[in-house]
């Protein structure tokens, strides 16, 4: 008996030693197995590490590249809800290691821009139009990202990635209701991807008229993946959902649902009780009156995400700007009630870490960014804190008939994180005047710096190449190849750099109508990473000790 025990103990020791040697020897360009985290369920993983090679830098400069795509409205200038424009997504669709771009359109076809490297793109038109949201999600779990879109006055469409840059449209069984915004994630913790959609009833009413009036309506739906189909559950009968997001609001490891509504309809939130059970909650004392975008990011490096939502408030008090806005603002006076929880301005919900939030948009200097659409968090200057990029502008033939082109022209705004809970505006060459709608922050050239793609309305889409100098970064692409959530949507990566815990989450989308790359970018400044903890969607964790800066880690769960 004692000999058997000794044999088992010896095998354990030997196995541990082998594992330790493998982990210790892994590094840039090599592959290895990863030791499980000490505190929670372990998950074995292997990784490859690839150098991120910074190109030339040029001070505080982003270089503008006009893209071969223009989102067109039905009329010029845009009327009614065409003014809301279309989204954009970016990720590696063809497996060449470079993020490709998919741009939505209303009156024309969507465009895929295949990234050929060196800031050249090959444009290919998709057989899809009238598009609102675009997200890149592996819905068939074959390891390739598919394209999923929502539509003007309609529902969800999916385009299955067949490899070699070809797609086929497939039916998403069970997903039959009108959808303007959407978000993907594993709500019931069964390992596959579920979906939440929100309708924009004002547009449905305008487009479908009596058909919508006498229909079962729309609203917010949860769709749980049941294997060969999705099972729908209606969460709300009405919505003006310009944005739907899946966020862990109460920090319990489960994705909760947040829907941002237009037209002073209160935003809606549901807490995930597990097993796909959602309970309405009201975690916010204040919210935007016309929520147009939601993005989440840990701006104060305390390990929990803050939430930023955009609304309409002029960013400048110049005579021209105020004069352009005043006629509209006069019509909004009845929404200005201090007893109401809603405000006509951007809001920043600062997570208190206990499931409650404190609205701090004004204190942070983020409350006004013009007619703000997509706002995205990202470390644009690689200084280890999250900045914010907001695209804005409005074209509306009815509302702004008194302006040239019926357009409010506003420069996009870059809010730079001061590190003390406040932000300041910078130009950095990002203050484009086009009427932006969707946007995505993505490292298009694998140089460790976040670039920006903006889908404008009635102007060509723009990619801003980040050539800012200084600051290191680290990137993580997580894969779970033998699961139904191959790109680990919902996973978090925590980079520990001594005093800071930099947390980033894999999400299907964010901002307004836009996707989010599954590769996470984390600016480090001049910090050295002590270790990285990956928390997979099922809660299991993997730790990588002392990872190298300026490196892309492709971590594959085994």
């Amino acid at each position: 008996m004692q000999r058997q025990m000794a044999l088992v103990a010896g095998c354990l020791l030997l196995g541990s030693a082998v594992l330790w040697v493998v982990v210790s020897s892994s590094g840039v360009g090599s592959a290895g197995a990863v030791a499980p985290a000490p505190t929670s369920g372990p998950a074995l993983a292997t990784w490859t590490a690839t150098d991120l090679v910074p190109g030339s830098c040029a001070g505080d400069v982003f270089v503008r590249h006009e893209l071969a795509h223009t989102t067109r409205a039905s009329d010029a200038p845009a009327r009614l809800f065409d003014s809301n424009g279309s989204g954009v997504a970016a990720d590696d669709l063809d497996g060449d290691g470079l993020a490709d771009i998919v741009l939505g359109n209303l009156e024309g076809p969507n465009t895929i821009l295949w990234n050929e490297g060196d800031w050249t793109f090959t444009a290919e038109q998709m057989n899809d139009r009238s598009t609102r949201t675009i997200q890149l999600v592996d819905i068939d779990a074959d390891g390739r990202l598919d394209i999923v879109t929502t539509h003007r006055g309609a529902g969800v469409a999916a385009f299955r990635n067949l490899g070699d840059r070809s797609f086929e449209q497939v039916l998403v069984r069970g997903v039959n209701n009108p959808a303007y915004s959407m978000a993907w994630g594993d709500l019931d913790l069964d390992g596959d991807l579920d979906l939440v959609t929100g309708s924009y009833d004002a547009e449905l009413d305008q487009q479908l008229r009596s058909t919508f009036l006498f229909s079962d309506g729309a609203g917010v739906f949860q769709y749980l993946d049941t294997g060969d189909s999705f099972e729908a559950e209606r969460l709300a009968e009405d919505s003006q959902a310009l944005v739907t997001a899946l966020l862990d609001l109460d920090h319990d490891g489960l994705l909760d649902v947040m829907v941002g509504n237009d037209f002073a309809m209160h935003d809606m939130t549901w807490s995930n009780q597990g097993n796909g059970s959602l309970v309405p909650i009201e975690p916010f004392d204040r919210m935007a009156a016309h929520t147009m975008s939601i993005d989440a990011g840990d701006i104060d490096a305390d390990g929990v995400d803050e939430i930023f939502a955009t609304d309409m408030k002029p960013a400048s008090t110049s005579l021209e700007v105020i004069s352009e806005w005043l006629p509209l603002m006069a019509t909004m006076d009845d929404l200005d009630n201090p007893a109401d929880t809603q405000r006509i301005r951007n809001v920043l919900q600062v997570n208190q870490g206990d499931g409650t939030f404190k609205e701090s948009g004004e204190r942070a200097g983020l409350d006004s960014a013009g007619w703000a659409w997509s706002a995205r968090f990202g470390d644009l200057d690689n200084d280890a804190d999250l900045d914010l990029y907001v695209v804005n502008g409005m074209i509306a033939a009815e509302t702004f008939a008194y302006l040239d082109g019926a357009e409010i022209v506003e420069p996009n705004i870059t809010f730079v994180n001061h590190g003390d809970g406040t932000f300041g505006m910078e130009s950095w060459g990002l203050d484009a005047l086009e009427s932006g709608r969707g946007s995505v922050l993505v490292d298009l050239d694998n140089d460790g710096r976040l670039d920006i793609v903006v889908n404008n309305l009635d102007s060509p889409a723009i990619a801003f190449e980040n050539r800012k100098c200084g600051g290191a970064a680290i990137e993580f692409a997580l894969k779970q190849p033998d699961t139904d959530n191959t790109h680990a949507i919902g996973a978090t990566v925590t980079v520990v750099t001594g005093d800071q815990h930099l947390v980033r989450t894999v999400r299907s989308g964010g901002g307004y109508l836009s996707g989010t790359p599954t590769t996470l970018h984390i600016g480090l400044g001049d910090r050295t990473t002590e270790y990285v903890e990956i928390r997979w969607p099922d809660g299991a964790t993997t730790t990588i000790d002392a990872p190298t800066s300026n490196t892309l880690y492709e971590v594959t769960r085994t």
């Binding site: 008090t317 005579l319 004069s323 005043l326 009845d334 929404l335 009630n337 007893a339």
Partner: protein
């Protein structure tokens, strides 16, 4: 009805405390009946104008102020004879700034108790045109403050009142100029029915400091409300601050002046 009133040609001896001469100067004294009758008349006229002639509130309030201007002028002339011109001006300053503070208290109630929209929480008189009224008012306060300082209302409270009133007047001058400019811009866009009143000034939410201040002004902007208070709160603070500084400044000044007069 005919009101008869004969101002006293000689200084009048008072029964109120000498320790608080500001009470002496604010007291109606022999004009009590005139002020009471005028007040009743003004109030009655205002009610009739509102109920019978459907005047808007600011018109009724303006009527009250016009009617009350007569006894007030008589009273202040009497004060000038009793205590000297500077003392009369000091009394008028406290009275009028006090009334103006009532306007801002009303705005505060409209905003925070009645929950009216910011641009509609205009108080009693300001709906006429808040920018013109507050611009003229603040310069009307600034001039007597400077006059009283020239007559000796200095010291800590006098200088504090001067600084506060001057900053407040600058704020309204900035707002007034912008009001004129934005009105012109709106007119050029074809809007004659959209008001440019109620826009932020230098301080407060959306004000110049909030949106334009550079790093050098970070310390100033750090004070609570400097860049976050809405217009109602900001000007409630301006005006309550002004009256709270005016009272001790005038009190100390009058104690000197009245006592000197009596001596």
């Amino acid at each position: 009805m005919t009101l008869t009133f004969t101002p006293s040609p000689e200084p009048i001896e008072h029964t109120t405390s000498r320790s608080f001469p500001i009470l002496d100067i604010l007291h109606p004294r022999e004009h009590l009946r005139l002020i009471a009758v005028s007040g009743s008349l003004a109030l009655g006229s205002a009610i009739v104008s509102r109920v019978v002639f459907n005047w808007v509130l600011w018109q009724a309030v303006a009527l009250v102020l016009i009617v009350m201007a007569v006894p007030a002028t008589i009273k202040w002339r009497s004060d000038a004879r009793c205590f000297g011109r500077a003392a009369a001006v000091a009394g008028a300053l406290v009275t009028l700034q006090g009334l103006h503070t009532v306007e801002h208290v009303t705005q505060w109630v409209q905003r925070h108790i009645l929950h009216e929209p910011l641009r509609q929480a205009n108080g009693l008189l300001s709906p006429a045109n808040s920018e013109w009224i507050h611009f003229l008012w603040n310069w009307s306060v600034m001039i007597p403050v400077v006059y009283l300082m020239s007559k000796g209302m200095r010291g800590f409270w006098g200088w504090a009142l001067f600084a506060w009133a001057f900053a407040h007047t600058l704020e309204h001058t900035y707002m007034f100029v912008r009001y004129i400019q934005v009105t012109r811009e709106l007119h050029a866009l074809g809007f004659d029915d959209v008001t440019a009143q109620g826009l932020p000034g230098i301080v407060g939410q959306g004000g110049w400091l909030d949106l334009s201040a550079g790093p050098k002004l970070q310390m100033i902007c750090g004070f609570p409300g400097i860049t976050t208070a809405d217009r109602v709160d900001a000007h409630f603070t301006w005006n309550t601050g002004e009256i709270l500084l005016a009272i001790p400044a005038v009190h100390i000044f009058l104690r000197t002046k009245v006592d000197a007069f009596r001596r």
